[in-house]
Symmetry: C2
Subunit: 413 residues, 2 copies
């Protein structure tokens, strides 16, 4: 974690309970830097379901290929995540490194390699020396223990300035199940993906097919609605593991999407995803402002999403917000370039609740001083009303500061 903690960070890492059936340990394997944890091992009880979404990049990392081939089986025994090296664009040696990592982990925890899930994050194009995992895996397998989310979340970070976690409890009749998630990501973040790396764990007994539906639907308005820089990673991975350990406490397995207990679980599951996704936006590289963009009155939700992303990814809008300038002209530009239906003469725009433009022109009541004060806040709500239909959507992003350029341009010079 190279820079000062983001001013938008939560006050502290949340208090997260253990998830029955999940044991965790982290180690420093020296993947790229010495003296920091960079490998996470999670070991799951037998019968654990897994589902995931992976980057849609046409140039995915080797671990993404590995997971894509093994997700259809729906069963997981272990998860190995490393930071420091993404094992992306590493050719045959990258593929070999994933197989070797899985073999090492499988031997250490006593399972088939095909039940080991893998994720890597860090530098692209450097060969990953999987032998380094051999040096630490036996000890990790011996040390795994319930809880320790903070340590786990720290081990998977790269340019993140704080570890990201979120948790929820859901009551199934007399019994409660737990959902815990961790995520990492600060740059190379854009929708059309799972996310950078996010892992969600629950002791609820959920069949793989149902878990797949939860993940697929859940990312749509959470991780897929966050953009830092419009740059979709080669390594985006969201995996959800359901150990089923709550079955021992009398919770019956959820095997159908029509299960009456599912709506409540889905609500909490999505809340954990949304919390993690917002933390990713709060840790956007160089971010000083968290920006929520709401587009309403569009022809459809899809159209509203495209317009919201056009605004969220516009360097001119993002730099204006960094400059604490309610530059709605640039918002008009970004609406206009989105390629979606829009009528200039019906457009209205608000910054933090203050309407600055109305029906295609500057709002006559627009108070410059009030808007200037509102723009100094660390959280900016930008609302655009198109006046065409009922389509609405919401996207989170951050501002574009000199610090972003420094983080991504100065590091080698």
């Amino acid at each position: 974690m190279p820079t000062a903690i983001s001013p938008l960070a939560p006050a502290s890492f949340p208090d997260m309970p253990p998830v029955a059936g999940v044991r965790l340990a982290a180690a420093a394997a020296g993947i790229r830097y010495a003296g920091r944890t960079d490998v996470l091992l999670a070991v799951f009880d037998p019968g654990t379901s897994v589902a995931g979404v992976l980057t849609r990049s046409k140039c995915p990392s080797a671990p993404v290929d590995w997971c894509r081939a093994r997700l259809p089986a729906g069963s997981a025994s272990a998860l190995v995540v490393n930071s420091g090296n993404a094992n992306a664009f590493t050719g045959r040696s990258g593929k070999a490194a994933t197989a070797m990592t899985a073999d090492i982990a499988a031997a250490a925890v006593g399972c088939k390699p095909d039940r080991v899930f893998l994720a890597s994050t860090g530098v692209i194009g450097e060969p990953l020396d999987a032998q380094k995992f051999a040096d630490v895996m036996e000890r990790l397998a011996a040390e795994v223990a319930p809880g320790g989310w903070d340590t786990a979340a720290k081990a998977i970070t790269t340019t993140d300035t704080f570890p990201k976690g979120a948790a929820a409890m859901v009551r199934f009749g007399a019994t409660a199940v737990t959902i815990c998630g961790i995520a990492k990501g600060a740059g190379m973040i854009a929708p059309d993906m799972g996310t950078l790396l996010a892992f969600v764990f629950t002791d609820a007994p959920i069949a793989p097919a149902v878990l797949r539906g939860l993940v697929r639907d859940g990312v749509e308005d959470t991780f897929n609605a966050v953009t830092i820089d419009g740059d979709t990673s080669t390594s985006d991975t969201l995996l959800a593991f359901a150990t089923g350990a709550a079955a021992l406490r009398g919770v019956e397995k959820i095997t159908r999407a029509s299960d009456p207990r599912l709506p409540a679980f889905r609500k909490s599951f999505n809340a954990v995803l949304a919390d993690l996704a917002e933390q990713v936006a709060r840790d956007g590289e160089g971010a000083r402002k968290l920006v929520e963009i709401v587009v309403e009155g569009a022809r459809s939700k899809h159209s509203a999403r495209r317009i919201a992303l056009s605004i969220a990814n516009s360097p001119l809008v993002k730099t204006a917000i960094a400059g604490e300038d309610a530059n709605w002209g640039r918002v008009v530009m970004a609406v206009g370039k989105a390629g979606e239906p829009a009528d200039r003469d019906r457009l209205s725009i608000w910054f933090n609740g203050i309407r600055v433009a109305h029906k295609g022109a500057r709002d006559p009541a627009y108070d410059e001083a009030a808007v200037s004060a509102a723009m100094k806040k660390p959280e900016i709500a930008l609302k655009v009303a198109l006046g065409l239909g009922k389509g609405r959507d919401r996207v989170l992003t951050c501002d574009l500061t000199k610090e972003y350029v420094a983080i991504n341009g100065d590091y080698r010079s």
Copy 2:
């Protein structure tokens, strides 16, 4: 011109001859700033053809609407361009301002208002006080004279750090015709448009329908292949005027696209557009590097263009180049996110002729020192070979520096 001249600027404004049938004058009307020229008047001989391309923004400026309604007639008597105020998102008052400006110019030069073409650039959303044109138009109409391209090019600039002009001569048998162009633009520049503002003038006698074809085809690989920040303006306008004055020197009018003289003219016309477009990239806000991105081996030219633009608009690629880092991992990322066919394991990447990645992995012969030296040059050629087909395309952009953030974020704080 607020900042120091771009280090990528040409050594000087080119030596540009007058174009027969075109007279120019500039004035300081105090549109936004005092003490700088901000209005350009061009007056054309009777019989002048006009063609143009305009922004595809769904929120176009009032002058764009004005031109779109009048281009089909194909005849021009005058052009009025102002900087300082874009007359965009100005509602009814914006529309009234265009009509008033055309009336003022028509009265001063003695033509119908419908033959006056308009373009405005500058702040969005501020009402444009067209009365300011009345104060200077009579004098401009009296002062118009052949040549003076440097003065004309300066009058239309906003955040540009140098005026942009290009010229060519084409021989039609014993007679030569002239093509002169001027352009402005430094930010809010992305394809899917004409350009920011560019005006091309020739004394060749060319019928409107033929001129339209020249413009439409000519922008495709010139202005539409330049991106500074991916932000398409509300005001993008390219207008080409053919006065036909060379007919007095015996040049017969070009009325058909099959005219045998057209290929030579097209070549020079496109060279002027390409020169102006490159100058726009060289004056990208905060630019320290001119970046040419060539994508070859794609499935089609269209696919190559989409991949080249994905690279050119990637903040991570642009900041890496600013940091003089041949970070080909980020190029892989940008290829992968483009949504076009790509095969990671066939991908090769060159920076300034040095192959850094080959067939899906780091090039084993990759010499870090040689690449570091190459990245220090002010012009960076980035080539990507996909190995899938024969599609090739080229896009120009610039790097993303802290200066870009300062120009667009600091100006009001």
